[in-house]
Symmetry: C2
Subunit: 159 residues, 2 copies
């Protein structure tokens, strides 16, 4: 059953089943491309940093959680991208050997006022490590397709 | 000259010189790993999406801008990571063939109250394409090393 905007309920919580194993190789590969700071690339430098040991780039951590979200929550028929993110927090460092999982909570939904096929959904995502400690969290401003494009769009205003 | 917390001035704007060429190969490679939604992977699916043509994952766009920031702004001697990000907005789609550049504005700085070697710096980053259109923006909650660890830390409170 494809989940459309109409099927989403404020307050619903989804505990996604996927797990992401963080490896040294991938932490360094991501950092070399996108965030080549010493504490993401070099064990010795990381030990002297506030991270304590080699730590994934925050953007890498977000990307790994995004993968879990795409695999187990977003659907190609209804996911329409996101306008942005609020309150992204890197709560704890993510290290090689960690295993990540994701929880999603639906905070708010409302139909787009300008695009009849679009519903806006505000979602809180929290990523946890294998000790059930939160490591990252953000609020996504996502767009989800409506099963029945709405009459709410009559005014044509932007939103 | 290494830029320490003391050298950063609120209101300063840095136009970074680096440029990032967005390629089809890299857009698909990132998407396959971290955001395998059809509009990031497949030209035909992207044409039918709100993006109009193949578009980089928003996390990829952020990561490419991060690379420009690391290359031309952050310094290994003084960059201490970030606690998070506010108001991340994917303003326009980023497509293969685009070239990205980054501007940084210092919004606010204050010494940490708990860690004498740390200064908090709130920074607005904006990524532009080759048409000088903003494509992404966020406010980073960064930490920068102080040249002279501060006496402000006397109360030992957390911040």
């Amino acid at each position: 059953m494809t989940r459309y905007f109409e099927d989403i309920e404020e307050g619903d919580v989804y505990e996604l089943e996927g797990r992401y194993d963080v490896t040294t190789e991938e932490v360094k590969e991501f950092a070399e491309k996108y965030d080549p700071q010493p504490f993401h690339l070099d064990e010795e430098a990381a030990e002297e940093s506030i991270f304590g040991s080699l730590a994934a780039s925050g953007w890498h951590t977000a990307s790994m959680c995004m993968r879990l979200l795409v695999d187990d929550f977003l659907e190609p028929e209804t996911s329409m991208g996101a306008r942005g993110v609020e309150e992204l927090r890197w709560i704890r460092p993510v290290h090689p050997g960690d295993t990540l999982r994701v929880e999603v909570e639906i905070l708010e939904k409302r139909p787009s006022e300008s695009r009849p096929e679009v519903g806006h959904v505000r979602t809180k995502l929290t990523g946890y490590n294998q000790h059930d400690e939160p490591v990252v969290a953000w609020t996504a401003l996502g767009m989800t397709r409506r099963r029945e494009p709405g009459v709410d769009a009559a005014d044509g205003s932007e939103d």
